[in-house]
């Protein structure tokens, strides 16, 4: 487990494309969003708007890490025969799996912190309580798990490295755009608002915005008991689906 964690995180940190799309790209959007899209925003709320942008981009970093980097890593290991090599060794697929997920969580946390930090430097401010921060960390974890679940499904069923990465990036970008991660919930049409409530990454993003920058930035109450339960359940469902697919198909003997 520790060995897989170490290997995977080194691979994430040493690949420039991964660093660019997971860290530099969201940071770029924090910079653009903080200074270009806030021209007519009243000065008393601008710091919170920047806060909401920083949260959205941190969430996007987590999405990219889970949906593109993880399946890319899985597909790469399969394509170069490493999974066959591992299957011939006396090791458990679960240890490999946990090592990969821990590496993903560590790398995702680093990416999200860096993006949020740049947001803070750009003037993002948050209004929070200690409990709110704790809850936000919980929602970030749910986002990572849901993204990892989707990523494992992609990595399991799309065999080629580039196909897996491109599919992951595509799903991350499209779902972020249509579910209110990259655009205000209030600006979405009715159908996409419904999707935003079901899509756990969007509802978790809204929950964090609600907790750290205020109710107005979420567009609805994502912290109602029903909505929170739905967010938790669907996140876990995606994660478990990815986990089952990975262990059953990637490590399956023919």
């Amino acid at each position: 487990m520790k060995a897989t964690l170490g290997k995977t995180i080194k691979e994430f940190l040493r690949q420039k494309t991964i660093l660019f799309w997971t860290i530099a790209w969201p940071i770029l959007w924090v910079l653009i969003g903080s200074f270009s899209f806030t021209g007519n925003t009243p000065s008393e709320v601008i710091s919170h708007v920047r806060g909401a942008i920083a949260i959205s981009m941190s969430v996007f970093a987590l999405m990219t890490a889970g949906m593109a980097n993880l399946p890319g890593n899985i597909a790469q290991d399969r394509e170069r025969g490493l999974l066959s090599k591992l299957m011939s060794m006396p090791i458990s697929p679960w240890r490999d799996f946990v090592g990969r997920i821990l590496a993903l969580l560590a790398f995702s946390s680093l990416a999200a912190i860096l993006v949020a930090l740049v947001g803070y430097i750009c003037g993002a401010r948050f209004s929070y309580t200690l409990i709110g921060v704790g809850q936000s960390i919980g929602f970030l974890l749910l986002i990572s798990l849901a993204s990892a679940g989707i990523g494992m499904l992609i990595g399991t069923f799309i065999k080629h490295v580039h196909g897996a990465i491109m599919s992951g990036v595509g799903i991350a970008v499209v779902t972020a755009a249509i579910s209110g991660v990259m655009a205000p919930y209030s600006s979405l049409p009715w159908l996409l608002q419904e999707f935003a409530r079901i899509y756990p990454i969007s509802s978790a993003n809204s929950s964090i915005a609600y907790l750290l920058v205020g109710e107005d930035y979420a567009g609805y109450n994502p912290l109602s008991a029903t909505q929170t339960t739905l967010t938790i359940l669907i996140s876990l469902l995606l994660f478990v689906a990815g986990l089952i697919a990975y262990s059953k198909f990637c490590w399956r003997k023919e």
Binding site: K7, E11, G81, S84, K85, M87, S88, P90, I91, E254
Partner: protein, 308 residues
Amino acid sequence: MDVISVEELTKKYGDNEVLKGVNLKIAEGEFYALMGPNGSGKTTLASIIVSVRFPTSGKIEIYGKKPKYAKELIGYVPQENFSSPILTGKENLMYFAGLLGYSNNAAEKIVNELLNKIGLSEDANKRVSDYSGGMRKRLEVATALFPGIKILILDEPTTGLDPSARRKFLGLIQELRKEKATVLLITHIGADAELASRVGLIDEGEIIAEDEPERLKKASGLKNVMNIETTIKSDKVINVLSNFSEKGKVLETDVGYRLYCEDVEEATPKIVRSLDAIGCKATRIETERPSLEDVFFQLTEKMVREVS
């Protein structure tokens, strides 16, 4: 003692029977080469032995155990370059040491010994992406040399290596033999298979011949092999040459033809004259001893690989 025992092993993918009742026994310390062309079933057989694939039927035992209970005894090196190019050679080995449960200190010691054994100590901290093909393959073999591993299974390890890297790599395998390791080499290169103490020739999922390399050659009845380069290549040329080759077997190569001849001295002038008669010149004629690839061709009328 047989450390690998395979009895009546079959493997089917739908209607395609890749292995057709294979029987194979490899003794402790033996260097066994399984040679056959692409698609002959050799990699499938190896992957069943190392527990990466299930057999359809048949029995297989490793040191008397089912393969899945003998994983700790087998070091498998698949055909692909599975090491991570973005990590250093040492980091790759530390990763495998970690997977096998070694503590950091123990792993460090073993990995340094392995790097020394495969001659990569000086390049240990270079990224694998900076390694040559031969260095990378040696590193990958090292992942199969951790203490406790008794059987080394190498799937086409020299494919894609230049001649120098290939010689160096085969030298390493010969060194490992001195340590009493049992080696199963999967290959389609006759010269590699000749290093083994016993060779199995596999074709269409069946082992068609099995013996020591020299005995296989002797049993084939082949005496000499002539490589003839010609100014033209055509069916007419093949027809002419087949009159001089044993059983009329002529193998087309990139530059000419390869035929099997008992008395080279007698045949050479006749071949030159006959080619002249159809307007073809023999630009070069070389004679060599038959290889295992020739034996395979003799038995199956198929080439193990493209002969150049």
